[in-house]
């Protein structure tokens, strides 16, 4: 394991310190916590938006804190949901009396920890609502199991709910936007190389020199299929088709596209993937309203890519275009 780190057990603390050191105008670290909050939190007369999760997905989630997106992001240890006490600190820091919405990726640990934090916050008299993001079509959406995972599509939930909150939406309205986004967003990823949790020191899984895995999770959870590497076009086509199978878009639909690098893949390759995604959508008569290519929801140094499609309507388009000052999503 070769990494540019100090103590593997202190990567999260070091990272958070380095993060706030970079953006002191936008964010601050709540003392003694792993919570990154907007510098002006609680923003007056505004619903608070809090997300978070395990670390190792940078720029998620701290990078999405800022005017127009999240009010706070709570960082857990690498690939480990943050604990209820930390989430509670985040909730308390951003509540301006208008209530707080939690955006949670659908993992057992995240759901339980955020849920306990919500209970604690409610006990302190704060109105809290939750939205669970489950955009990963690699996993079957069954009520008998834990259901689909939350991956890169979460960033769109931050953006759109964040814009709604910034525009003065009520807790119910912000939650409704978040739920609509969840309903309309689907993703799937693939990896060509694994990642190594710093404190574990060995890779989470292995892939043969010529092997790829389709449907990988952002914590290296197993996907749908392992096979010999194919061309970028074939990879892009497979991912796009799997998303379309689930999202079922009619001709004339408008979408936002996200081609997300998992951490180790150079931007050149992301653009090569985007070329094919764009071609496929265009050939099906689907209108691409906006495209996001880059690293939005990573998996340490894993090499790979995920494709996300978000079906848009007029409300979502307006919210997508709204100003954001979050360091990782400026527009």
């Amino acid at each position: 394991m070769k990494k540019i780190i100090n103590d593997p057990n202190l990567v999260v603390r070091d990272m958070l310190d380095g993060f706030v050191a970079a953006y002191p105008r936008e964010v601050r670290l709540l003392p003694g916590t792993t919570v990154i909050a907007r510098v002006d939190a609680p923003a007056a007369n505004k619903v608070g938006l809090v997300s978070g999760g395990g670390s190792g997905h940078e720029p998620a989630h701290a990078g999405y804190v800022g005017e127009g997106m999240l009010d706070a992001a709570v960082a857990g240890e690498v690939f480990t949901s943050p604990t209820p006490d930390q989430v509670l600190e985040g909730i308390k820091a951003v509540d301006a009396g208008e209530g707080v919405l939690l955006v949670i990726k659908n993992y057992t640990g995240d759901v339980m920890n955020f849920d306990m934090a919500a209970e604690l916050a409610e006990a302190e008299g704060i109105r809290v609502e939750q939205v669970i993001v489950n955009d990963d079509v690699a996993v079957e959406d069954s009520s008998f199991t834990t259901g689909r995972r939350g991956i890169a599509g979460t960033v769109f939930v931050h953006k759109l709910a964040g814009a709604k909150a910034e525009a003065g939406g009520t807790l119910a309205e912000v939650k409704a936007v978040a739920e609509k986004t969840v309903k309309n967003v689907r993703s799937i990823g693939m990896a060509i190389t694994p990642c190594t949790v710093p404190a574990a020191r060995t890779p989470s899984f292995t892939l043969e020199e010529n092997e790829i895995e389709i449907g990988i999770g952002i914590h290296g959870e197993p996907g749908i299929e392992r096979k010999a590497i194919v061309s970028s076009d074939d990879i892009a086509a497979e991912l796009t088709e799997k998303v379309l199978d689930d999202l079922k878009l009619e001709t004339g639909s408008e979408v936002a596209v996200m081609v997300n690098g998992l951490g180790g893949t150079p931007e050149m390759e992301l653009y090569i993937v985007n070329k094919k995604v764009n071609e496929i959508l265009t050939s099906k008569g689907i209108r691409i309203y906006d495209t996001f290519v880059g690293e939005y929801m990573t998996s340490l140094e894993m090499a790979g890519v995920s494709v996300t499609l978000l079906k848009l309507d007029d409300e979502l388009k307006e919210l997508l275009d709204a100003k954001s000052k979050a360091p990782a999503f400026r527009c």
């Binding site: 395990g54 604990t83 057992t108 199991t145 999770g217 914590h219 959870e221 197993p222």
Partner: protein, 206 residues
């Protein structure tokens, strides 16, 4: 049996020892069917538990177990944190008021803990989770009138080993579906360390 402050501290110290020793093993189990952090998470949590309880004077076991719960809740994270945190909180609540924990109280406390885990995690037996160690132990204790360290440990061990053949339906391993069969459930293994530590501590006292 009687769990007092002294041997509960011993229990946690021993559990911490076993978890530290098997940190890599637990992480490897989680790499196979999860995300490879279970050993790291449990080691961090129990390290803190030991630090906390050896630095504090307790009047009763309930307060001690409450600190164990709170420490696990705030230091472990992931799925294991809230589940173990809930379990120890329930155990602590079940023995509130009494200085020590006798067998009937332990028995009902463990049943409450199991109920807490199931409620928090929405899992049932057979889904390849903590429940698959905790529920057999509660069932076993229901048929007992006194604590039998060897019997307790062997039930825990068998239950832990039996998770190997299960298909995961809850937690991160569920994404693997039938491919989760053939692997031990990491959380069940860490539970086994906790329970075998308890058995060892109480064996000494037998």
């Amino acid at each position: 049996m009687e769990l007092n402050v002294a041997n509960t501290v011993k229990w946690m110290t021993l559990a911490n020892e076993k978890i530290q020793e098997n940190k890599t093993y637990l992480t490897e189990l989680d790499q196979a069917i999860g995300d490879g952090d279970h050993g790291i998470n449990m080691a961090r949590g129990f390290q803190e538990v030991e630090a906390k309880i050896t630095a504090t004077d307790y009047d009763n076991v309930s307060d001690l177990l409450k600190d164990v719960s709170m420490t696990l809740l705030s230091k472990v994270g992931g799925a294991a944190g809230p589940l173990y945190g809930t379990a120890f909180l329930k155990l602590s609540m079940a023995v509130k008021g009494s200085e020590t924990l006798d067998f009937p109280k332990f028995k009902s406390g463990l049943a409450e803990a199991l109920a807490g885990i199931k409620q928090r995690g929405k899992a049932e037996k057979g889904e390849k989770t903590l429940v698959d160690v905790w529920e057999p132990l509660v069932d076993y204790l229901n048929g007992q009138n006194s604590f039998n360290a060897a019997g307790f440990e062997s039930v825990a061990k068998e239950a832990m080993e039996a998770t190997k053949d299960l298909e995961a339906k809850k937690g991160r391993a569920a994404y693997l579906r039938e491919r989760s069969i053939g692997h031990l459930d990491p959380g069940s293994v860490s539970s086994f360390y906790i329970f075998s530590s308890l058995a060892e501590v109480l064996k000494e006292g037998d």
